[in-house]
Point group: C2
Chain length 319, copies 2
Amino acid sequence: MKYIIGIDIGGTKTSVSLGNTQGKILARQAFPTKDVRSTLAQTKRIIHGYLGKPKTQNRRILGIGISCAGPLDLTKGVLIKSPNMPTWRNVALNKVFSKAFRLPVVIDNDANAAALAEKTFGAGKAVKNLFYYTVSTGIGGGLIIDGEIYHGASFDAGEIGHSVILPAGPKCACGKRGCLEALASGTSIARVARERVKKSSLILKLAGTKQNIDATIVAQAVREGDKLAREIFQEVAFYLGLSVTNVIQVINPEMIVIGGGVSKAGPILFQPMIKTVRKLTWARPYRSCKIVRAKLKDIVGDLGAISLVLKKRQLLKRQ
Amino acid sequence: MKYIIGIDIGGTKTSVSLGNTQGKILARQAFPTKDVRSTLAQTKRIIHGYLGKPKTQNRRILGIGISCAGPLDLTKGVLIKSPNMPTWRNVALNKVFSKAFRLPVVIDNDANAAALAEKTFGAGKAVKNLFYYTVSTGIGGGLIIDGEIYHGASFDAGEIGHSVILPAGPKCACGKRGCLEALASGTSIARVARERVKKSSLILKLAGTKQNIDATIVAQAVREGDKLAREIFQEVAFYLGLSVTNVIQVINPEMIVIGGGVSKAGPILFQPMIKTVRKLTWARPYRSCKIVRAKLKDIVGDLGAISLVLKKRQLLKRQ
């Protein structure tokens, strides 16, 4: 049996896992992401631990996959910067880990890696072309074409969160206005709820204070029958549905997979979203596209990192 | 030297051309598109004429390419229906021509074929990934990935004209509301001009009557300093720019090529459109994408049909 090491560097936590080629995670350790030096040092210590065991020593490891947020230079394997980790700038992740462990290292952004994970081990196993959304604090996306991540001219393909839905809409964290992320992310759900909530509102009762309101609480309020919360989710579902429509009209994928924290809301999000898509999309491409919830949940980052190594090997073998 | 026959079946005219593998058109005959039977009969007569000459007899022809409007079933080579030619339904174009001439036949929709033509012989020769818009009576599109037409799950990829920009916007010919085509096509430019024009307007002066107003006249009025005409083109440029932004954010192509009759308006369309794209798109993917006018002009349909055969041969050789 061969193994793969997956590193998932997120804005709040980093996890390091040991998986097999079937996508089974055998060991996993997570810790809060801090500055570059200490985070990478702890990551290396964990990897050394995995490699110290006879069954998973160096020669049994196929490679190290790294999934991380933020714009990357994939030709050099460098993290250029990270939206949530200001001290992380021009980090040569590829070099650091290949030098330390003399193993092949493959890096990609978190949404692309998650898209590949869903294709390799999750909801998209049976298809070759899919578009993946992660709807969480922000909104990211990944485009899988012919079984591979499609990166585009500058590694920015799939940045659906910053497609513009309402040009005069609310300000987005990226500086533009009316991006999908500013209208349908967890952050925007919480912001809209805070703006509209009244003293008597169930949302406020569940949250305790305005500051405590988040997307999970708004979702809970929908389930408990709150009108405002339902309105907010219907708006979010509409914007997401509009975005899905346009992805289907332009890319005509076999499948749309929606993951991330907000997708956990389930039917209260998916039902109105799919209704919008059905209404706004041409019948033939709509019928050809399954719209499903992501399957891999909380370990999608780990499996994303692992799937990067698997795919790279597959591509090398094909040559 | 080897030759290719290109058939371009449009809503108003059909043209049949004889070209070489370098994209040079050696002969071309066009006639009004009528019912299926007479149109196909005349097409065959023209082809027989080409094949009757010693230099371009059957054995020197690589194949027949067909570019035509409307949803196709590409696995069967069947035109399902055509928006502008109601009598054209379930026409087995592939079968008709391969039987008649015992030559390989390749068929695709007009926007896809034009996208491939621009990639093979036109503005996109140097790139591998581009998105092509044709802005004309309607709006179509074609997605070229890794040098090939990307068809999607049901052959509907690239249908950018029916991406939804303004969900509560004007009714589109397709039945939906606020499609790009309903906001930025030649037809919509004429419609908006007719709605807003006043008796004293230059547009009306140039057109003679309201009914005569078309996109070309509105473009002329812009050049002659008319304020209303400029407003209309700026709106159109904004909607097109918004669409281009979202294509860049999601697909991150190396190039956007814009063709079709409305693109002939030139700088009065391109300047405000590019300004919008620059403003609404992330810097890195924007800088990585050339936005250019199509190069092939009026013979793009013929060259599209021809490029289909060339590409098919290339793919067969690679296997």
